[in-house]
């Protein structure tokens, strides 16, 4: 039998931002036994010696006091370093473009943090993500948030049945504008706080500078696929497939884009034109696939997919294979498919799961400059 809200303890992961503040508020209004917990994953002291997490925690404290709920903090710096940051660096070293948010959700927020919440006697863990959970015949589906623009299922594609059975996303049914309005109406301390942008541990800092603190930059040549040298690059890890800015190649004709990398020779491939043919592919292979509702066979099926966050869905055919590998064929050629990023599958509103892009295929051949 389901417990009454007042007997149901919900731990809310609070970041000090407006989304998680409103998530806590909504649950409190619904009568749940709400506990706010701030998670610290990264030790970051700014130029004035102030830890940015301290400021955020102050906001959590203020909001929780407004809501009259207890608040605590928990430290996952070590787990974050081991599970997320190490992966992040390894992927860059391998010439790929990692997605630390997906990994953070999988390993930290919905694993270490969920375990922490459960050890506090929580029935559910709630976050301020824009996504929905729907129970159907004892199985849990994950649906896109109703605010299409904010939908975060892309980052949540690795969640399992077990996790979803213990998760609440109170913002899934509303849009961001409403969230701000609710926060303002209740005069929450975070009502007008700026949304955080970028990768959480890098924050507002210069990405290149940040990365160079951890990985030695190896400058090399920028070349066309035909081998013509077009200039120098600062280190392959600083560039992502399809990127235009920061190449510094002048001259006439269409602008230049990153179209690939050669890790062995430390060469950055560039080509002209947004629609440069070399940026296009017709299939991919991915690893570490997760199906939110486990698939029963390896029969191919059609659905839609996103290859990066905030992209329109594309029609694809999925061929599941053994060991969590999957082949995805595109209905139309896709531009700038990037190894290391997530491919996430949808059936309408329902997020089916996702995988990590490993190799990119064109005309039944791996695109070497993208592998």
């Amino acid at each position: 039998m389901k417990k009454e809200p007042k007997d149901t303890r919900v731990v809310v992961g609070m970041s000090g931002g407006v989304d998680s503040s409103v998530a806590a508020l909504l649950l409190k209004e619904q009568g749940y036994d709400v506990v706010g917990i701030f998670m610290k994953n990264w030790d970051d002291t700014d130029e004035f010696g102030v830890c940015t997490a301290t400021e955020d925690f102050e906001d959590v404290v203020r909001v929780c006091n407004q809501l009259d709920i207890p608040y605590y903090s928990v430290n996952f710096e070590k787990q974050y370093w081991d599970k997320v940051f190490t992966y992040f660096l390894d992927e860059y070293k391998a010439g790929r473009t990692p997605n630390p948010d997906v990994m953070c959700n999988k390993e930290i927020k919905f694993k270490a943090f969920l375990d922490h919440a459960l050890s506090l006697g929580a029935d559910y863990l709630a976050t301020g993500h824009y996504a929905r959970v729907r129970e159907r015949n004892g199985r849990y589906e994950m649906l896109r948030g109703v605010d299409e623009n904010k939908d975060q299922t892309y980052f949540l594609n690795q969640l399992s049945q077990d996790v979803l059975s213990k998760v609440m996303f109170p913002l899934g049914e509303i849009d961001k504008k409403e969230v701000r309005e609710i926060a303002k109406k209740h005069n929450l301390a975070t009502a007008t706080k700026k949304d955080s942008t970028g990768i959480c541990f890098i924050g507002e800092r210069n990405f290149k500078e940040f990365l160079s603190e951890y990985l030695p930059a190896q400058p090399g040549k920028m070349k066309t696929l035909a081998g013509e040298v077009k200039g120098d690059h600062d280190g392959l890890m600083y560039y992502t497939i399809g990127q235009r800015h920061g190449l510094g190649i002048g001259g006439s004709g269409d602008p230049w884009f990153v179209i690939g990398k050669n890790l062995e020779e430390n060469v950055l491939y560039v080509g002209q034109g947004f629609h440069n043919d070399h940026l296009y592919s017709d299939a991919l292979e991915a690893t570490d696939s997760n199906w939110i509702i486990p698939i029963e066979s390896n029969e191919p099926f059609t659905c839609t997919a996103k290859f990066r966050y905030r992209q329109q869905d594309s029609k694809v055919t999925v061929y599941p294979r053994e060991n969590g590998e999957v082949r995805v064929e595109f209905a139309e050629p896709e531009r700038a498919i990037t190894p290391g990023q997530a491919v996430v599958f949808y059936d309408g509103e329902v997020c089916l799961g996702g995988a990590t892009i490993d190799r990119v295929i064109k005309n039944e051949k791996y695109i070497q400059h993208l592998a």
């Binding site: 506990v35 610290k40 997490a53 925690f57 903090s73 928990v74 050890s119 506090l120």
Partner: protein
């Protein structure tokens, strides 16, 4: 469940009799003690009476008491005041590595100002060795500052022995007696201290008031400038009601110290007894033979303070740990790190329970059972 307060070493509830003494002062005695009229004299009288009571309670004279905003200010006043006054005689200060941050951070500040500070180690029970003080004393040592009772583990330091040792040395001897005041009888002459800090809110008095004992003849540079209050040693209009509250709190300690110690000790024993009965795995950090009645610091193997304190609080048990965990940063307790080494797991799995007037036996039993339940659930 009604919450149970097991954090008396952090602060104590104000005794109802203290409140009763303070209210009329707030309501009626609003004069400025420095004023030369009826109202001023009424307020001044309160200051004088309180100063007398406080002085007498530690074997001092009224002239030797400076009221401060609390222990932290008293510690700052002692360390910085002495350092500034005596910097021409020497720049060496001795303290311990397990002091309260009020002393440690002030010592670090003085290091940045060009003073040299020796931080004495402690043994596994949190005890400083008298011989270590002797070993590190130098000709240019101007101050030795050592807490009387450690706030995290309750270990009572050999203040009297060190006081004796320092009789023959020109260095001043300061003790932070914030945790001792109220449980241990204190006589400054017997202890041989030149300066002593104490605070009202640890002894069922109000927050925002404490004092520094400054032995007659000891010169300090004052840190706060303005009017001539406290013999020019601490400028600022006095907090008369709090001063009155401090007086009452001290009087109550004098009357009840023995009873209180017996009661707190019984609480501690009962609490530990139940943990044992419930077969909880734990060990006690501190010194068995030299520990105040009210504090017990317990290590629970296989746990960590974050999860323990959160679980305790959600179950209505208020305790604390020396490990600061604000904003998600767990800093292992500096006291336990000094006792066991910073890698020892006891630095991050230990909880301080401190008993006091807010408790009764029923609460002790209820809380010990709850704690046992939580530990069993987590391990």
């Amino acid at each position: 469940m009604e919450p149970i307060y097991l954090d008396h070493a952090a602060t104590t509830p104000v005794h109802p009799k203290v409140v009763k003494e303070m209210v009329p002062v707030l309501e009626n005695t609003y004069g400025n003690p420095s004023s030369v009229h009826h109202y001023g004299r009424q307020a001044r009288k309160i200051m004088d009476q309180s100063r007398y009571t406080v002085a007498r309670s530690i074997g001092a004279t009224e002239k030797e008491i400076v009221f401060t905003s609390g222990g932290t200010e008293a510690d700052n006043m002692a360390l910085i005041g002495v350092a500034r006054k005596r910097e021409n005689e020497g720049k060496h200060i001795i303290t311990t590595s397990i002091e309260h941050h009020a002393t440690l951070r002030t010592a670090e500040y003085l290091e940045n100002e060009g003073f040299e500070v020796t931080y004495l180690p402690v043994d596994e029970t949190g005890m400083v060795a008298v011989s270590d003080v002797q070993k590190h004393l130098r000709e240019d040592t101007i101050l030795v500052s050592m807490m009387y009772v450690n706030n995290e583990v309750g270990t009572v330091q050999p203040i009297k022995e060190i006081g004796e040792l320092l009789q023959e040395h020109p260095a001043y001897f300061h003790t932070d007696a914030v945790q001792a005041f109220g449980t241990l009888p204190i006589d400054v002459k017997e202890l041989g201290v030149d300066l002593l800090s104490a605070s009202a809110h640890k002894i069922y008095g109000p927050k925002g008031i404490g004092f520094l004992y400054i032995r007659e003849g000891v010169k300090l540079q004052s840190l706060q400038h303005g009017g001539e209050q406290e013999r020019k040693r601490r400028a600022g209009t006095e907090n008369t009601a709090a001063v009155k509250g401090l007086q009452k709190a001290v009087e109550l300690v004098e009357q009840e110290r023995t009873d209180r110690n017996q009661r707190y000790l019984a609480f501690k024993k009962r609490f530990l007894q139940i943990l044992e009965e419930e077969q909880v795995e734990f060990s006690i950090n501190g010194n068995k033979d030299h520990c105040v009645s009210s504090i017990v610091n317990i290590s629970f193997p296989g746990t960590n303070v974050e999860i323990l304190l959160t679980n305790f609080d959600l179950s209505g048990i208020a305790a604390s740990s020396g490990s600061a965990c604000t904003a998600g940063s767990v800093e292992p307790s500096h006291v336990l790190s000094e006792m066991f080494g910073s890698e020892d797991e006891r630095t991050t799995n230990s909880i301080r329970f401190s008993f006091g007037n807010a408790n009764d036996e029923q609460q002790i039993e209820t809380s010990a059972k709850k704690v046992s339940e939580i530990i069993h659930r987590l391990t």
